[in-house]
Symmetry: C2
Subunit: 380 residues, 2 copies
């Protein structure tokens, strides 16, 4: 197995000025610059094998900023320290017994070959978040939605939660455009408290959303359970998980019936193993996994996990789909391939994490070409 020794480790602060176009804006993050701490471990092996790691962050990249209200910044999808510090808490405390996980994987063998073929031919169903960021004008929303329909998308997510009248208007526009049959999801990015979430969503129920995502603080398991109890009778499920840092949190969300759609995040959960344990628990509780993606490289990473989930664990596509956001893929050496609104299985070896050296150089903060120009412009 050992083919070389680690010869070099580099960590670089890569940022993309996404805030300039309102991309990625939601009820909590009004002008995020999608960023990443990018780590490369090189070896002296003959074949030059190396490892690449990525951590998606928002706003100020790997810095920590305090929000205007004097509270902490909304959790970036994985400050490496946070991720690591927290994952440690989970040690051996999840409910899933080894035997149980083994049983699930055994059952997953049945029909595995067929599902693999099916994935290779059709891909894994995706939904798009790219049409309806909160900062987009109605015109942009309409234009992007029309284009997405033309491209074959059938599942759409709209950001809500900042202003009810705006939400009603925007949801009306999008529902009118996509028609009654296509799938609409809503995402509040933690904006509400518990009663507010129920009240607000009762007013948006007429637009038939499949789910409301992150209606309140992601730490509030019991709050999600209360919201779920109130909204499921209206036909609205609760989706959450992108901020959940270990399997102990997911265990409780499942135990408390606090969610109907479980959203793993490939970077937030520490390591592939932690993600796998959550996939197995979701199977046990019969809750569909619909991964969070977007950001920087999250689509690239999570496609591996969700396709594995279908082939070896869930064996079902019912109510299942993976988020897709159409930006920043051009910076990756092995970018995701979307065909007919589905993730096509990646064929290159590895976790699709490697970025193009040219992109990294250009977007390094604050010395890359892109930032030098932007920062200089700010000063003038």
């Amino acid at each position: 197995m050992v083919r070389g020794r680690i010869s070099r480790l580099s960590v670089r602060d890569v940022r993309f000025p996404t805030s300039l176009g309102g991309h990625g804006s939601d009820a909590m993050h009004t002008d995020p610059d999608y960023s990443a701490a990018y780590v490369v471990i090189e070896t002296d092996a003959e074949d030059g094998i190396k490892g690449c790691g990525i951590t998606f962050t928002l706003g100020k990249g790997t810095e920590v900023d305090w929000s205007r209200e004097g509270r902490g910044a909304p959790g970036d999808s994985g400050c490496p320290k946070c991720g690591v510090g927290l994952v440690g808490q989970a040690g051996g405390k999840a409910c899933l017994e080894v035997t149980c996980g083994h049983e699930i994987l055994q059952k997953g063998q049945v029909g595995k070959k067929e599902r693999e073929k099916q994935m290779l031919a059709q891909g894994y169903p995706a939904y798009t978040t790219s049409c309806a960021w909160l900062g987009y004008s109605d015109d942009t929303l309409k234009q992007l939605c029309a284009q997405a329909l033309k491209d074959g998308w059938t599942r759409f997510k709209v950001k809500v939660g900042a202003d009810l009248q705006d939400d009603v208007r925007r949801c009306q526009i999008i529902r009118d455009m996509i028609g009654p049959e296509k799938t609409l999801m809503m995402d509040a990015n933690q904006r509400w408290d518990v009663p507010e979430a129920v009240e607000w969503m009762s007013k948006l129920a007429k637009f038939k959303p499949l789910w409301i995502e992150e209606p309140t603080s992601p730490d509030d398991i019991l709050g999600h359970a209360a919201i779920s109890k109130a909204l499921v009778p209206l036909g609205i499920g609760i989706a959450t998980g992108e901020q959940c840092h270990n399997r102990v949190i997911f265990k409780q969300l499942l135990q408390a019936k606090a969610l109907q759609f479980l959203q793993i995040d490939s970077c937030r959960l520490g390591s592939v193993n932690e993600n796998l344990s959550v996939l197995l628990m979701a199977k046990k509780f019969e809750i569909p996994v619909c991964p969070h993606a977007g950001g920087v490289g999250l689509c690239e990473l999570v496609q591996h996990l969700i396709i594995f989930d279908y082939i070896s664990v869930s064996a079902s596509l019912k109510n299942r789909m993976c988020e897709y956001v159409d930006h920043l893929h051009e910076h990756f050496k092995y970018p995701v391939m979307i065909q007919r609104a589905s993730y096509m299985p990646p064929k290159d070896p590895g976790y699709s994490t490697e970025m193009k050296e040219e992109s990294v150089k250009k977007h390094q903060y604050p010395d890359g070409e892109v930032w030098k120009k932007l920062l200089a412009a700010q000063e003038n």
Copy 2:
């Protein structure tokens, strides 16, 4: 209010080689070096006013280390990034309404003057964790316990959770020494899963512990509720909170009846404000607050919060006490004062955070005198 501008900010990595004596060892941390990220903000104000901040960490200071099992390190009491990243999630989602908090504080006015006088005369009751770290030999345990009894201590905490037979023997020693009337608490530092915690503690119930602290993962609110349900009938309460990063977690612990003793940590909760909101919620749910302390400077900080709690919020000392660990105080400019096993109210202005410059210099890692010697010795 503005008396100057920030003229200088320094951050220093201060570490104390506590692992050399087994101080601070428990079921999760076998050889911790108590450490701190120490921040000083200086101003150009005429009176030279400055601000000092501290973040207690374990083991490798502000680095992050992976435990032997390949999982993350048990959560240090506040990697600054973790603390900040997480606090942000709490935004406006706690159950406590402003009116409710206001009411509690209004009621707290009654008898306030008397309680203030009482504190100044008698201090706030403390318990000691210094006698029974897991890494101490039975002889050391006996010797420290005898000394503590001589010094007037009446409440003792023992670390448990690594080996049941060891625990039985150590608990027997300490209960025999302190007698049946004095208070004994136990602390498992998250070592168990849920059924294990119930089983293990059923076997230690005969030593009459007031509480078992951190029986399982601090993220597992529903797990704590289950343990609590099983152990309260045996006369054992559940204590937890030192790893809880915001008021949303405490809200749920209270809602789920998952604890009988609530342990705030002055550094883990981001800011004094977040601590105050938890004090108010605990009052609302009538759960006593018994702060976590020890580490580096935690006693110095939390004494302010708990004495405020008594004077202005809880107005009660029933089942209430503040942790005390007798080490590293000599490095602080305004160290805590313990008299008759009680915290005597600090009389200097500020939050007692300032360290002695000489101590910081000596213990800076890796260039301070203490570490230069230790690291050189390791190399030989």
